[in-house]
């Protein structure tokens, strides 16, 4: 059968280019007076966290639009974005641990921001697991989109947890009640370029991940339309009594 999905190559080039530019700037930007070189971890930790928010927000948009229109295209967007969001959240947690160990002195502590981020990670892991409970695209979409909408409540809670409660994690430097707390222009530019680069990476990964979702759906359709059992000839009935 013919593959009905266009396979694009340029998103991979966009990912590579973004990483090169962001990396170069992260290495030439000045050291911080307090943190020294460790400040460079911020230029990947903060964008990763932001893109986790963006990804889960897209899951919310996709889920909500699916519930309103019942168009499976939106469910695919929600699913693709959730997987990428889980990736970015995991990356944020690991980079945060490295930054935490090197500045605070501990890999992990149960402060509000860290705990809530970990919970968000597991909720969306649950979303991905929920999608695996059925093969039926419609049933899968309606189950998942309920969680996709509910889960988004966490995004503002996670972000503002550092403002609302007293935490070890520092409050936001950019999106906060006052003006940005980064005075050094090159540091601010580096962070912004980092966020832009990660956004390009997110979009590129989304394009590829949605391609994959199309292919998987096509494959499921083929398996259901043929008369053969799903496992085909791969499964051989074990012969009883066929001992040497």
């Amino acid at each position: 059968m013919k593959v009905q999905t266009r396979i694009r190559w340029w998103p991979w080039a966009a990912v590579a280019l973004s990483l090169v530019v962001a990396f170069t700037l992260s290495m030439i930007s000045p050291r911080d007076d307090v943190q020294g070189e460790l400040v460079r971890i911020m230029y990947i930790h903060v964008p990763a966290a932001w893109l986790a928010y963006v990804a889960f927000f897209m899951t919310f948009v996709g889920s909500l639009t699916y519930l309103l229109t019942k168009n499976l295209r939106w469910d695919r967007i929600a699913a693709a974005s959730a997987e990428i969001g889980v990736f970015f959240t995991g990356l944020t947690l690991v980079l945060g641990m490295i930054w935490g160990k090197s500045t605070w002195g501990v890999w992990w502590t149960w402060d509000a921001r860290l705990t809530l981020t970990a919970i968000m990670f597991f909720v969306y892991l649950g979303y991905l697991a929920l999608r695996r409970t059925t093969d039926d695209p419609v049933a899968r979409a309606s189950r998942a989109s309920v969680l996709g909408v509910l889960g988004a409540v966490q995004i503002p809670i996670v972000h503002f947890s550092v403002v609302w409660w007293r935490t070890l994690h520092q409050p936001p430097s950019i999106v906060r009640p006052d003006s940005p707390a980064i005075q050094e222009p090159l540091m601010l530019i580096t962070l912004i370029v980092g966020v832009v680069a990660f956004t390009i990476i997110y979009i590129s990964l989304m394009i590829k991940r949605i391609e994959l979702t199309h292919l998987e759906d096509q494959l499921t359709e083929i398996e259901h339309s043929t008369d053969q059992p799903v496992a085909g000839e791969a499964v051989v009935v074990p012969e009883l009594g066929a001992r040497p």
């Binding site: 990396f23 290495m27 030439i28 000045p30 050291r31 911080d32 007076d33 307090v34 943190q35 400040v39 911020m42 090197s102 500045t103 605070w104 002195g105 501990v106 502590t109 149960w110 402060d111 509000a112 705990t115 809530l116 919970i119 909720v123 649950g126 929920l130 409970t133 049933a139 309606s142 189950r143 309920v146 969680l147 509910l150 409660w165 007293r166 935490t167 070890l168 520092q170 409050p171 936001p172 430097s173 906060r176 707390a181 980064i182 005075q183 050094e184 090159l186 540091m187």
Partner: protein, 139 residues
């Protein structure tokens, strides 16, 4: 029966999460006490966390560690810390220490450095000969 499934599964997950949230965060949403809160409460011998800025000029080395004052701008509390201070520990920086309060001083054995959200760079302080990008792609 099948119709209920798609609501029971996510609703169940959400309920479990909410329960976990309440239990785990009720006590720890506030990560540390301020010096003002500490001086207002009696010493009960329980372990708690104290956070604030290290008062400049108050840091002194001891045989077992370091002592310093921690302030929130209103009250300040003397901390007797046992163990090596963190790498970034210095006068004026934020710290969170863990230990017990005896009514007059705080005895800590665990120290975390709490850096704030501001980033500054004194370019004159920057050494251009400092190794940049060395082995940056290696983990």
């Amino acid at each position: 029966m099948k119709r209920y499934w798609k609501f029971i599964v996510p609703a169940g997950i959400v309920v479990v999460i909410l329960i976990v949230l309440m239990i785990s965060l009720n006590s720890s949403l506030v990560y540390f006490n301020t010096p003002t809160e500490l001086t207002e409460q009696a010493a009960d011998g329980g372990r708690l966390r104290l956070g604030g800025q290290v008062v400049p000029g108050s840091v002194a080395d001891t045989t077992a560690g370091v002592t310093f004052d921690v302030t929130d701008g209103r009250e300040s509390v003397t901390v007797v810390h046992v163990g090596a201070p963190q790498q970034l520990f210095q006068e004026g920086i934020g710290v969170v220490v863990e230990g017990t309060w005896d009514g007059t001083s705080f005895h800590s054995d665990t120290m975390l450095v709490k850096h704030d959200e501001t980033y500054t760079s004194d370019e004159g302080d920057y050494d251009p000969n400092h190794p940049t990008g060395d082995g940056s792609d290696e983990a």
